[in-house]
Symmetry: C2
Amino acid sequence: MFTLHQTDPHSLARRGSLVTPHGVIQTPVFMPVGTQGSVKAIHPDELRALDAQIILGNTYHLAVRPGMDTMRAAGGLHKFENWNGPILTDSGGFQVFSLGKIRKIKEEGVHFQNHVDGSPMFIGPETSMEIQATLGSDIAMLFDECPPHPCEADYAAKSLDLTLRWARRCRDWVDKNQPMTNGQPQLHFGIVQGSSYQELREKSAKELVSIGFDGYAVGGVSVGESEAEMMAAVEHAVPFLPHDKPRYAMGLGTPPQMIEMVARGIDMFDCVLPTRLARNGTFFTNEGTKAIKNACYTNDFSDLDEDTHPSCKGFSRAYIRHLIKAGEILGLRLISLHNLHFYLSLLGRARKAIEGGFFAEFRAEFVSNYQTRETSET
Amino acid sequence: MFTLHQTDPHSLARRGSLVTPHGVIQTPVFMPVGTQGSVKAIHPDELRALDAQIILGNTYHLAVRPGMDTMRAAGGLHKFENWNGPILTDSGGFQVFSLGKIRKIKEEGVHFQNHVDGSPMFIGPETSMEIQATLGSDIAMLFDECPPHPCEADYAAKSLDLTLRWARRCRDWVDKNQPMTNGQPQLHFGIVQGSSYQELREKSAKELVSIGFDGYAVGGVSVGESEAEMMAAVEHAVPFLPHDKPRYAMGLGTPPQMIEMVARGIDMFDCVLPTRLARNGTFFTNEGTKAIKNACYTNDFSDLDEDTHPSCKGFSRAYIRHLIKAGEILGLRLISLHNLHFYLSLLGRARKAIEGGFFAEFRAEFVSNYQTRETSET
C-alpha cells in the first residue's frame, strides 16, 4: 500500500506514495481540512485545480450534523460532499474532548453532550469505527484519548493504557467487520500518544505496531506545548515506527514546522491555518504571514504573491484588502485559495527537493527565510 | 449604439443589442449586482461561466470604501475588480437617501454622513458624474432624487423638478468633460422619476428625452409600492421613451415581475434578490422560491433543480441544506450560483421567446406556474 521511493541522505525525510481506495497520494503531503463536509469556502472543483490529493472530514462534526441517518442515506461522505478523491476521517476523539460540553470518560468510551444542541451522545472505539465505516473514508483513525497539555505523568500513563486498550478494540472491530470503500478495504491508522513523556511515546509506538495498522499518526501535538516539545514528541515516536508505513503528524502546523517534521520522517499533515487565517485576511508567503488589512496595502496593486494560485492572479492586494474590510466573501475565498495553494505547493516543493537530492538546502533556505510570528498564527 | 432586432406582436417586448465600450449586451438582460466591487460570493470566472453580460457597481459604496483615491490609483473599477466586461454604475442617489446617516438635500446636491465611519460627504450631479467617470463604467446613471413611498403630490412635483435640473447639470458636465472608458465614450442614462403620479412620469420622460441621453431608466420603483403601482410607473413612462434607446427598470424584481416588465417594453434589470436570498438558503425554481432549510430536504439527494448551473450539479439539496445550517460558505456559494443562473437564463429564455415569436405563450406559462410569496422575497 505504501511505497518508499526515495530517502534523504541528511535527514529522515522520505518520498513515498500511498495507495488508497479512491486514489494514490504522493507524500509528503498536505491534507486540507473539510471539518463539516466542506473545505471552508472552497468548491471541490477548486480543490482539484489546487492539486489537493486528499482531504479530511471530521467524524464528530458529521455525526452531530447532518447526523448518521443522512450520511447513511447519502451513501457515505464522498457522495455527500461530491468529492471522489481520497478522504481521511479523524476518530472524533479530539473533538469530543475539546467540543463536547460535558464529557465522562469511561472504559467503554466517552459520554458527552454535543456542541450544537446539547443532546447526549456516546462515542467509543467500536462506535467510532462504525461511523467511519459508514462515512466510507479511505483512511480511518483509531479512537484515542487526547490528554490535555500539560499532563501529569501518572495521568498520561493511565490515559495511554486506555488508548491502547481502545486501539485493540478498534482492531477487533475492523477485523470482524472488514469495512470497505469504493470496493476496497478501508485503511486504518493508529495514533501514538504519551504526552511529553519519551518512554510513553516509545511504549505507545511499539504496542501499536505490534497490534498492526496501515499507518501511524503522532497525536497529542499542537495542543499548547512548545515547538521544542512538539518536535520531541515526533522524535520519540518515529524510531519505533516501521519504514514501510506512512506517518502522519496530526493538526500541524506552520510552514516551517511542517518542513521540520518532514525532516523528522513525517509523511502527512493536516491543518486549519490556511483557511482559518484567510478569514481575518492573513496570507502566507515565503517570508512569513502578512496581514492584508495593513494600511501599506491600500494602494498596492500587485498580486498577493508572485507565486499565487492562477485563480488569484489579477486580484490586487488593494482589492483583496478592500474586500476583507468590506466583509465581502470573495476576499476570504481568494486568500483561502492562495493559502491552500501555498501549503499544498510547499509540500510539493519538499517532494521535489527530496527527489532531486537537495532537501537539506531547501529546508535550510525555507526555514531561515520564513519569519515565524507564532502569536498571529494560532 | 442600441439596435432593435425584433419586437413581439402581442406586447411591447423587444429583442435588442446595446454596444458598450467593453462589449455588446443582448437584451432583455439581467445585470448581477456588485455593490462593493464584487457580486457577493462570486468569482469573476464564475460570472463568465454564468454568461453574465454586464454587472453593476455602486457609486456611493465605492466612493465611501475603498474611496476614490484608491479607485483612481487602480485605474478604474474594471481593473480594480478584475472584470473586463461591461459595467453599469448607479449615481449614488438612491444609496445616499437610504444609507446616508444624516442628509440635507440642497440645490447643489446632497450633504450626508456615510454609513461606514459617519464622516461628512457631498454628492451632487457633477460629483456623481465625475466619480462615475473615474470608475470608468460603461454606463453611468444620472444623479437623481429618489422620493420616498408614499409621496405627496406636491413633494413629488418639486422633487422631479430638482431631478430635472440635476439632469441638465449632469448633461452639461458630460458634454464638457467627455468621459471615456476603454477608449470609447461612456454612455449616460437618464432616470424617469415622478413617484406614482402619471402626469409627473410623463413630464419626466419627455423632458429627459428632450435633453437627450443614451438610454432611459425608470427609477423610484420597488421602494415599497404595490406591484400594480410598480407596473403603472413603467406603463406611464414607456410611451414617451424613444424606441431606439434601451430602457432599464431599476432594482427589479421577482422573476414574474421581470417578465411582466419585458412585456411592457423594458430591456434591462438589476436585482439583489438572487444573491441576498441565497444567504438564508432560498433558491429559485420555475414554481417559485423554496427554502432549503425545510425539513423535507433533509434526505433529498436530488440537485437543487433539474436546470441548475453546471457548477451546482452533483451537490444535493440534502448537502446544501447541511451546509447552510452549518454556516458553511460553500452553501451560499452554490445557491448564489444557482439563483444567478436562474435569473440570467430566465432573461435568456425571454430573448429566445421573442426571437421565436412565442413570447406571449412563454409569459403566460411562466407567470402562471410561478407561485409568488412576496413576503419571503423582500
